[in-house]
């Protein structure tokens, strides 16, 4: 409080900011390293689980009497796919190849796995990203309306919407959207599932239940902020109510909201499978579905590790966002 105490600190202020930036860089590097380790561990775990499943499509094909292979031919084919080696050796080879970008061949189509998934990823990525953006937008609108609308039936309606969204089945939303938008209004063609209109409709189907979860957390967080002293004090200074919401309530509410966005990502990935089926799209969901049916282990392995990697990356981004959103998490090395 005294000048003597504050002056030295003032002089040290720039270096304190630099130290804080250094700490953040170290924190980001450490978190990124941890994320990489998680992806590698996921690869190992998925590989071992898939290897432990009894039987594989090659053995099934080779052993069936109709195929008519000789034992020597069988052994040759097995050895070509590396199936005659111990699991751990196969794991190490597979990992080594993966690091070099070689993800193996699909067992059912003999195409490279990268090609099989590479063809499917853009469609799914477009769907998932659009869905996530839509979900966040819908949630933001609902959240803000819940605070900006005066208390009354309309506000009550806005606050009830997330529950309605959550309890409506995904496929029902999809079918209604198709019926209304494509069949009745003719806004997009059912023939071309990759058209912008179709993608948007599919993304909306996916986004609605996901937005509900985000909106619920956001509304609760906004209400919580609204009850805090700083909201009352800001209002007492003459800040108009809408500005109190935008300037004082929103940012503290982002922390839990961002957290839940990371959590609902699983829903987006899982939901994309159903949505792709409803809208007749070919995406990662369809590929995975076929791979499961055909016991196509290399494709499954990469698809599962890929979803794990998406999870890890999104949560890494969220972790790195925390200190930026809340200055209280900055100073002390961000040990969260």
């Amino acid at each position: 409080m005294s000048t003597a105490a504050t002056l030295p600190r003032r002089a040290a202020a720039p270096s304190a900011a630099a130290a804080s930036a250094r700490r953040y860089a170290a924190f980001a590097a450490r978190r990124t390293g941890q994320a990489l380790i998680v992806v590698v561990l996921a690869y190992v775990l998925v590989f071992l689980v898939l290897a432990a499943i009894p039987g594989d499509p090659i053995s099934a094909q080779l052993d069936s009497p109709q195929a008519g292979y000789t034992d020597a031919e069988k052994a040759q084919i097995r050895s070509f796919h590396g199936l005659d080696r111990p699991v751990l050796v196969r794991l190490l080879i597979s990992l080594g190849n993966a690091v070099r970008g070689d993800l193996g061949l699909s067992l059912s189509t003999s195409q490279p796995v990268t090609a099989v998934l590479g063809a499917a990823i853009p469609s799914t990525l477009a769907l998932a990203v659009t869905a996530l953006v839509l979900a966040v937008l819908i949630a933001a609108v609902l959240g803000l309306l819940s605070r900006l609308l005066p208390e009354g039936p309309l506000n009550g309606f806005v606050r009830a919407l997330p529950t309605v969204f959550l309890s409506t089945p995904n496929f029902l939303i999809g079918l209604v959207l198709i019926q209304v938008l494509a069949v009745n209004l003719g806004l997009f063609s059912l023939v071309d599932p990759d058209s912008a209109g179709s993608t948007l409709a599919a993304a909306l189907t996916l986004a609605i239940p996901v937005s509900a979860q985000i909106a619920q957390v956001l509304i609760t967080a906004l209400d919580d902020s609204a009850g805090q002293d700083y909201a009352e004090v800001a209002a007492s200074r003459g800040l108009p109510p809408a500005q109190v919401v935008l300037r004082h309530l929103l940012r503290p509410s982002l922390l839990p909201t961002v957290t839940v966005v990371g959590l609902v990502l699983g829903e987006v990935l899982g939901g994309s499978l159903i949505t792709e089926t409803i809208f007749g799209r070919t995406g990662v969901g369809t590929v995975v579905q076929k791979a499961v049916a055909a016991q196509d282990v290399p494709v499954l392995l990469v698809a599962v590790v890929l979803s794990a990697a998406v999870f890890v990356v999104v949560n890494l981004v969220i972790d790195l966002l925390y200190p930026l959103l809340d200055p209280r998490l900055r100073g002390t090395e961000g040990t969260r």
């Binding site: 409080m1 000048t3 504050t6 002056l7 600190r9 003032r10 202020a13 130290a19 208390e151 609204a226 805090q228 002293d229 700083y230 009352e232 004090v233 800001a234 209002a235 007492s236 200074r237 003459g238 800040l239 108009p240 300037r247 004082h248 940012r251 503290p252 959103l325 809340d326 200055p327 209280r328 100073g331 002390t332 090395e333």
Partner: protein, 565 residues
């Protein structure tokens, strides 16, 4: 200073009236109800320009509701407000929101209770200050706003405005934050400041500085102050007029000197009798009886065979880039049947000392003994034996009791843990403890949620008593309670000491209570002992500047010297 005057002029231009007798704030027949419950009933008072009026009352008296009714911050709570609130002769109650908005900040300023939670934690002080400055008419350019902010921060005694502007709330102390909030409140040049317990969350020396600041602003800027406080001593020292509230109704009102020297209502008299700072000898009788029953063998500060002995204890907390010496060579001893107070502000190390004594904290150096047994956190068996004779009463009775348990079960729990006797005996002992703290029998099967703060603290004391300990650590046991409740709790504790010869380690920041309650004290500051001795000696003849500062911060001392006029 000049900046502030400039903005004042711009707001006054519309509101200034030539008629002098119109008070700044006139509240008449104000009633506030939430649903069917009346919280404020027919309250009237007025505040003149440049003067201060204090609304005094305990929790639930409706004083904060009145403040929020004036500021129209009852909002979401669906309150019904009847009666009249007029500022500068203009009736406020009928105004629409849009008409009231320009009055916020520019005419009516607000200084909140808890500075720690009253600024947005995720935004810098600068961002929030500029936002406040942007609401001042005339401050169009950013440079004007920055100048306004700097001027206001300097005016409230923050000598390095740039550092404050660059900081986030969690990087400043409570006193600095309260100065920032006052700066933001005076920045648009309001005519009335409503200060709701502006210092109850602050250390005593800081409390004095903040109240002095409010006094200065009031005189210099001719601002009227509506001061909400539970602390009679603060009201006595700072306000020209007081209104005493109980259960939402005015008990007494008038000039401060008159209300305090010749209180007419029994409630004011009772309230006054319970203020520690005004009644240093309140428990002298009880303490004399205790001294008779448990005479000391040595002198007042004995060294032989004390119940508690703390010798040369040090403890340093280290984090990556900081080192804090929480305790630095602290020693004290407490004889049987006496009370030793550890006094200090936040960060002084008093809580660390208590935690170390309880074996909850390891120490770097020194020794702690209770009844001759060493406290050693690494030896769990020995620690359990020590703790049987050493119990604690926590500061906050609202969080220290398990809400799912009945009162009886809470008090019996330590007996169950130590497997004392059979079930009948434990129940008997629990009943005895509840009897000892004078908790009505009807409350024993209730859960804490239905009890008042004072009742809860009695339960906490009963729980500590159940094992019949010899030593109690009292960690600010009354700081969360109203003065009348506090007086009751202190009386129970002194009666127990008289009857059972208990030894107390009393942690407190309130020298007024210490003077009533303790025999010896140690003044701590940043982990070091500033001064130690008997309470009488240290308070009447302090040898250190810091101790003098603490004593001067007891608000009532100003009252006793100034008010009888």
């Amino acid at each position: 200073m000049s900046i502030l005057e400039g903005t004042q002029g711009s707001t006054d231009g519309t509101a200034r009236e030539p008629a002098p007798p119109v008070p700044l704030l006139q509240v008449s027949g104000l009633s506030v109800a939430y649903g069917d419950t009346d919280v404020v009933h027919d309250v009237s008072f007025s505040v003149a320009e440049g003067s201060a009026l204090a609304l005094i009352g305990e929790s639930g008296s409706g004083k904060s509701t009145i403040a929020r009714a004036v500021l129209r911050l009852l909002g979401a709570r669906r309150a019904r407000v009847d009666g009249s609130i007029a500022v500068q002769g203009r009736e406020l109650t009928g105004l629409r929101e849009a008409e009231f908005l320009p009055l916020r900040g520019r005419v009516l300023g607000f200084v909140p209770q808890d500075p720690g939670s009253s600024l947005n934690p995720v935004r810098s002080i600068g961002a929030q200050a500029l936002e406040a400055a942007a609401l001042v008419p005339g401050a169009r350019r950013r440079a004007d706003r920055e100048a306004l902010v700097r001027g206001a921060l300097e005016r409230v005694g923050l000598p390095d405005p740039q550092r404050i502007i660059d900081s986030f709330p969690h990087q400043l102390s409570g006193g600095q934050l309260q100065r920032v909030l006052i700066a933001l409140a005076i920045l648009p040049g309001p005519r009335l400041l409503v200060a709701d317990e502006p210092t109850s969350a602050l250390d005593v020396t800081v409390q004095k500085q903040i109240l002095d600041l409010l006094d200065d602003l009031r005189r210099e800027l001719r601002i009227g102050v509506l001061l909400i406080t539970h602390d009679l001593a603060i009201a006595a020292a700072r306000a020209e007029e007081v209104v005493v509230l109980q259960d939402g109704s005015v008990q007494e009102a008038g000039p401060t000197a008159q209300v305090f020297t010749a209180p007419r209502s029994t409630y004011t008299r009772a309230l006054q009798a319970d203020v520690p700072g005004l009644n240093p000898d309140r428990f002298a009788g009880l303490r004399a009886e205790r001294d008779e029953r448990h005479p000391l063998t040595g002198d007042a500060f004995p060294t032989d065979a004390p119940q508690v002995q703390v010798s040369d204890v040090s403890r340093t907390f280290r984090s990556r880039d900081r080192e804090v010496r929480a305790l630095d060579g602290v020693s004290f001893a407490i004889p049987r049947g006496r009370t030793h107070a550890l006094v200090g502000e936040s960060g002084s190390g008093k809580s660390t000392a208590a935690r170390a004594l309880l074996g909850l904290e390891t120490v770097d150096a020194g020794s702690l003994t209770v009844r001759g047994r060493a406290v050693d956190p690494t030896d769990r068996r020995a620690l359990r034996e020590v703790r049987r004779h050493l119990q604690i009463v926590h500061q906050n009775p609202f969080t220290s009791l398990d809400p799912r348990f009945t009162v009886e079960r809470i008090v019996r729990e330590p007996l169950d843990l130590y497997r004392v006797g059979d079930r009948a005996e434990r129940e008997e002992r629990a009943a005895w403890a509840l009897e000892a703290v004078r908790l009505p029998e009807a409350l024993r099967s209730r859960r804490p949620g239905t009890l008042s703060g004072g009742q809860r603290q009695r339960v906490a004391i009963a729980r500590a008593l159940a094992l019949r300990p010899d030593v109690l650590v009292l960690d600010e046991p009354t700081s969360a309670l109203d003065v009348t409740v506090q007086a009751g709790i202190l009386e129970v504790l002194l009666t127990l000491q008289r009857d059972l010869g208990l030894t107390y380690l009393f942690i407190s920041h309130d020298l007024g209570v210490v003077r009533q309650f303790a025999d010896t004290l140690t003044v701590l500051r940043r982990g070091e002992v500033v001064e130690a001795g008997t309470v009488d000696r240290v308070l009447s003849d302090p040898r250190e500047e810091y101790t003098r500062q603490l004593i001067n911060s007891i608000p009532a001392r100003r009252d006793t010297t100034e008010v009888p006029a």
